[in-house]
């Protein structure tokens, strides 16, 4: 075990893979000698050479197009998109190519060995274009897996599983936690399951569901609620697609209440999908409507970042409202 922050855990996972898998390549803007703008790929070029860890030109559609071809060829392609806000030039390559490669070829070809890493989320004074959480756009696209870790331990185990999974994975890293979150991380190889939610804290009165950096927020809100005698169960979804409806439903059947928290705007956010599914699976168990604590339906603001964020206070208020319903 070693103490690592989330960036070090990511870096450690990449080193683990590149040592074992000679066909593994890491590429993207500034990921080479410089080690990436957040330093997630530090020293990879020195360790594994310029042909396996390299800078690309500044073209997100090019990076993912290239990655699709490289993965289809059989190599392990690990592409970085510097900020999730800049993934949209690659939207066509991801939605029409990455995600459909296997289906359209009847399984003859696939991008199963592709992993796209990208930092997402707000809370770093990044304004409109360094703060977005675009998971819901991609959750609407069959053929992709979407994974979000909440801490360094989760990040290493989930990233190793994502890279080795035989499906293309969009791996979204909560950049607010890159240096903020430090935890014990095994130095050896380990994987955490994709498509499985994780019950972070058991409780009896309400289920708080989130992912990534918002799990911390849910924990803080749960502590506030505990002082009022409210027992919260906290579930980290971990995989947005395919998502673990069963674990969430089991929790909701136990607590009778569900609150979903995400940074992305409310309308069309992934909480909508979860709410629809849970009311279908748990209708007669629900004591109150499913609460959504999300970003506002605005572009991500700068000066009003604090006001925009679905923080612990908004979450705490929603918990009380749901309990009183």
């Amino acid at each position: 075990m070693a103490k690592m922050n989330l960036l070090q855990a990511i870096n450690n996972a990449l080193v683990t893979v590149m040592e074992q898998d000679k066909q593994a390549m890491v590429f993207g803007e500034d990921v080479g000698h410089f080690g990436g703008v957040f330093r997630a790929t530090s020293n990879l070029q020195e360790k594994f050479g310029k042909s396996r860890c390299f800078n690309t030109p500044l073209t997100e559609q090019g990076i993912i197009g290239f990655a699709n071809g490289l993965a289809a060829q059989g190599s392990t392609a690990i592409a970085e998109i510097q900020f999730a806000d800049y993934i949209f030039p690659a939207f066509d390559q991801i939605v029409n190519e990455t995600a459909k490669f296997r289906y359209r070829s009847g399984g003859q070809f696939s991008c199963g060995t592709l992993t796209i890493r990208t930092p997402y989320g707000g809370g770093i004074a990044g304004g409109l274009y360094h703060s977005q959480s675009p998971e819901a756009f991609f959750a609407h696209c069959p053929g992709l897996k979407i994974v979000v870790p909440r801490n360094p331990y989760q990040a290493k185990g989930l990233l190793l599983a994502a890279i080795r999974d035989n499906n293309p994975v969009l791996f979204m890293e909560p950049k607010r936690l890159y240096r903020a979150s430090v935890s014990e991380v095994p130095e050896e190889d380990y994987e955490l399951p994709l498509g499985k939610a994780d019950v972070v804290q058991e409780g009896t009165d309400i289920t708080l569901l989130g992912w990534g950096a918002q799990i911390e927020i849910l924990q803080q809100a749960a502590e506030m609620a505990l002082e009022d005698g409210i027992s919260c169960e906290i579930v980290d979804l971990r995989s947005i697609s395919p998502w673990d409806a069963q674990t969430v439903a089991e929790s909701v059947m136990k607590t009778g209440r569900l609150l979903i928290n995400h940074e992305a705007p409310l309308t069309g956010g992934f909480a909508s999908e979860i709410a629809a599914t849970i009311q279908d699976k748990c209708f007669l168990y629900l004591e109150a409507p499913v609460a959504r604590v999300c970003g506002l339906d605005t572009p991500y603001p700068l000066a009003h970042e604090k006001e925009y964020m679905p923080d612990q206070y908004k979450t705490y208020e929603a918990i009380k409202r749901t309990l009183k319903y």
Binding site: Q23, M25, S51, R52, F54, T56, P57, T59, Q61, G62, I63, I64, G65, F66, A67, N68, G69, L70, A71, A72, Q73, G74, S75, A77, P89, D92, Q93, N96, E97, K100, F101, R102, Y103, R104, S105, G106, G107, Q108, F109, S110, G112, P142, G143, K145, N166, N167, G195, P242, A245, Q246
Partner: protein, 395 residues
Amino acid sequence: MQDRNHLARVTTTHQVHIIENGLIDIPMLQVLKPDGTLHEQAEEPEITQEVACKIYDTMEYIRILDERMIGAQRQGRISFYLASTGEEAAAVGSAAALQPQDMIMSQYREQGALAYRGYTTAQFMNQMFSNEKDPNKGRQMPIHYGDKALNFMTISSPLGTQIPQAAGYAYGQKMAGLDAVTICYFGEGAASEGDFHAGLNMAAVLHCPAIFFCRNNGYAISTPAEEQFAGDGIASRGLGYGVKTIRVDGNDPLAVYAATLKARELALSERCPILIEAMTYRLAAHSTSDDPTGYRSRDEEDKWRLKDPIQRMAKWLQHKGWFDEAANKALIDESRQAVLSALKEAEKIPVNPIDDMVTDVYDKVPPHLQYQMNELKAHIEKYPQAYPKTAGRNK
């Protein structure tokens, strides 16, 4: 840390001197004259009788296939078709210069390259009738072929997406130490997509052994080339990316063959991309959903009919003494028969079972998809008359 100087190749001037397009001449390689003889200064490429005849036979075969399938579409037997009439030499001549281990990433008008690789008439038909013998499981519109055994990447409809993919595929081939390149076909219209810029730039910077083969056939559906770009075709862009470039007469099978042979050699020996711009003409409609009489004249088409690559190749083969009139006639008759009987056969083969609707989305069918499939099957059972293709086979 190394010192860099991004002005190292920059020269200086002291006059305001604006560079104009057209100052760099990009000539078009032409080997054969329309009468099938060689241009005086042209060198005949090294080509065996076997390869030459196979190029010719494949072009003839594709012309027949195209004619028959347009007919089949008009009869309502398939939903869609896309012919390559007049452009056969571009696809076939280039494919002939490759090796079987080279990956082909095509757009959608390169059936000639696929036929040259050995795709059978039955395989063409199974794809077009989206039946259960198509390895792509009947999931895409007609003409979206793909065959892993022949190193022919399954075609996708979005234009130009294969261009950066070819760079990545070729990079993987290079890293694996393979004696193989990737060829990537696209039209001059697709070259307006951002993926063209992204792909060529990445291939150049990352030294990918890829051949980018542009069929400049003058039209993107109805949009003529002069409304597509203002520069000197597509070739001029290659130079801007630092990509070795050649322009060829796309209706001259020998010129296409010679250029692609050289491109492959350079791609492998120098580990670099090559751009080939083949100047040709889309004598066919864009697809069976298109009618060119609305945007171009009969006279214009007739001028290009005189440049027919098949006629040109036939005349050259005759000069070489490699053309067997009787054998050729027999081949044409056989091909027509083969297409017709394969067509009749393929339309009788059922589509894939309904379960294949949810396979290959992921490597394994996830529970939520299995749940959706079970619900769908129960629904079909209730209304079998509404789903005749699958109801009878539903278990």
